[in-house]
Symmetry: C2
Subunit: 405 residues, 2 copies
Amino acid sequence: MSRLVMKFGGTSVANIERIRSVALRVKREVDSGRQVAVVVSAMSGKTNELVGWCKELSALHDWREYDLVVSSGELVTSGLLAIALQTLGVPARSWAGWQLPIKTTDMHGSAAIQEVVTDSLLACLDKGEVAVIAGFQGVASDGRVSTLGRGGSDTSAVAVAAALKAERCDIYTDVDGVYTTDPRIVPRAKKIPKIAYEEMLELASVGAKVLQTRSVELAMIHKVPVQVLSSFTDVPGTMVVDEDEIVEKQLVSGIAYSKDEAKLTLIRVPDKPGVAAAIYGPLADGGVNVDMIVQNTSEDGKSTDMTFTVGRAEFERALHIVEKNREAIGFHKLATDTNVSKISVVGVGMRTHAGVAAMMFRTLAEKGINIQVISTSEIKISVLIAADYTELAVRALHTAYGLDG
Amino acid sequence: MSRLVMKFGGTSVANIERIRSVALRVKREVDSGRQVAVVVSAMSGKTNELVGWCKELSALHDWREYDLVVSSGELVTSGLLAIALQTLGVPARSWAGWQLPIKTTDMHGSAAIQEVVTDSLLACLDKGEVAVIAGFQGVASDGRVSTLGRGGSDTSAVAVAAALKAERCDIYTDVDGVYTTDPRIVPRAKKIPKIAYEEMLELASVGAKVLQTRSVELAMIHKVPVQVLSSFTDVPGTMVVDEDEIVEKQLVSGIAYSKDEAKLTLIRVPDKPGVAAAIYGPLADGGVNVDMIVQNTSEDGKSTDMTFTVGRAEFERALHIVEKNREAIGFHKLATDTNVSKISVVGVGMRTHAGVAAMMFRTLAEKGINIQVISTSEIKISVLIAADYTELAVRALHTAYGLDG
């Protein structure tokens, strides 16, 4: 029997009326003869409220306690959706992360899923029940609740889909697909019908916040077809699939931006082996995701500057860790800037076409936008600019690459 | 080392500021050299919100799902209080019901605690950590979360105190003790310094909502001294202790009332063996707590009327069960009244003094209040009256028994 995983984000379960309408959508899939597992987020706003309380109590709170607190919102929606389904005559039961269990690493606050134990889950589905799984959470090796980091419910959904060998993982959200860029900034942005995992990955990692990065990685590894679609309309969404399944490849698929960036520059770090490790080792141990890293060639052979960026939410943690390791690293001064944006152009077409980067730099130069940092990958070019120019840059690039609809 | 259990109700943890002040109170006890376990309720209003959502989805919701939903509020406060304690330099960790675990019966929605497994708890205390336990919840034999019914955190606290052989269980609430009656109705009500378990039990069961009934039963069985006190002041509260420890016994200790009563009368049930079982068996199976039961002698030897009361929250469930068993019971008509109050006078002194009941009936008669139903126990007399007369009755009785301060 074919299996489907459906995931509903915070706005899709924001109140009782919407939970009822989610139940109707689930019922439709059940009626079509599929086994269905549903993964739910917390009602929109709830997780922020819970995170806010933890932060209010302590900027450097115990992440194990944080996890217990912030994972509670998903328990609420999973129970409520199970009730809503039962009310429609659809057998259903809720599953907390620790009940399946979904086993994770011990990195509380941003744990990674190690295993979705499927015994109870399969028994539940085979009984004809819809399994309503609390997203965003699991249980660490010490038996304590863990969470997967913001947007982690997407990852829960894909991990469940992979474990169940589901035919598809449908991610219901408040947008009806993946666009060439943010339609709020560029009204002529177009919906992309099919996009490659790699492209989606780059778009997600640079701030097109439709899917959590790790969920796309996981989908790519396990070749789980993921559909991004809206829970408020009935139009088809964007299918995230293997590159080979996309016939007409675009040079550039989309322009992404992220305003939630913070830049840290360590001025005059010694130019000798082991310095990078001394900086990024402690950051990794502290669970800080470093994004861009730029190190220029040393002029004098003695010292160099090291710049890196982190998400703004992790800025204080990163700062704390760097300051604590000041002596071990041996830098002269620390300069920070939390008023920067990252702009990226993404497309698998770049692999075979030259001049994509040059067009980006020319376009930004024509608008008088200064590029602070450049970073590239096989299918992405990212630049850091002053946050004020974000919208201008995105619009200009969208036009330059011929993406305007 | 002496052990203390402290329990904080919803108003005591209503926001971050109050959670901080609770942490200070806990720290004071830790600093005095005690091992401390804390049991917390959900932030005030949270549980009602969660219960409301379940009811909005379905009046006859799955109680296992209800339990997952409504138990989440206590997880939040236990994590937050642990963070608040750590911020003060007090080692602390949170415990969900399923983590200790606190094992309960399978009666979801109003489960009873069967065992507080103390292995991890003792290890935690012996490490010098404060154990912050989510109240109101446990885990049933099927591994699903269970809740103990409204006010269940009191029971959690006393059960933990009994399991830990704690010297005392301090229940912090929004009142500073147990009064001779509700001070909102009778401004001259006095705080009772010491009260017997039995008296507290009768007061709790008739609506003096300071402690959950089951918590007092449990305290009585295990002889756990319980103190009721306010988290907003520093004055001593009311000690609930063994009758033998009270030197000056009052004739009547207090007047209690409950407006949340509903009355069901089964008119003309057959006067034959097995009828009461046919009525109350299914109600018990359905988890409905029947309170007063009155059956008069049959006039004609063929049929009689049966009246019973339940909490108003359980009224619809009771009605549903009685209607469903209509044929098996064989009653003629069902009359209901949700506009009744129960008024009770309570005191261990009644055991040795006559005339306590007579004074109650005379006092109510003088005020022109009609008594609908009478029920008595060794240390309590309760009557059911029209809800409109509640305040008048309580004030008159408070004066009549010489309780005015």
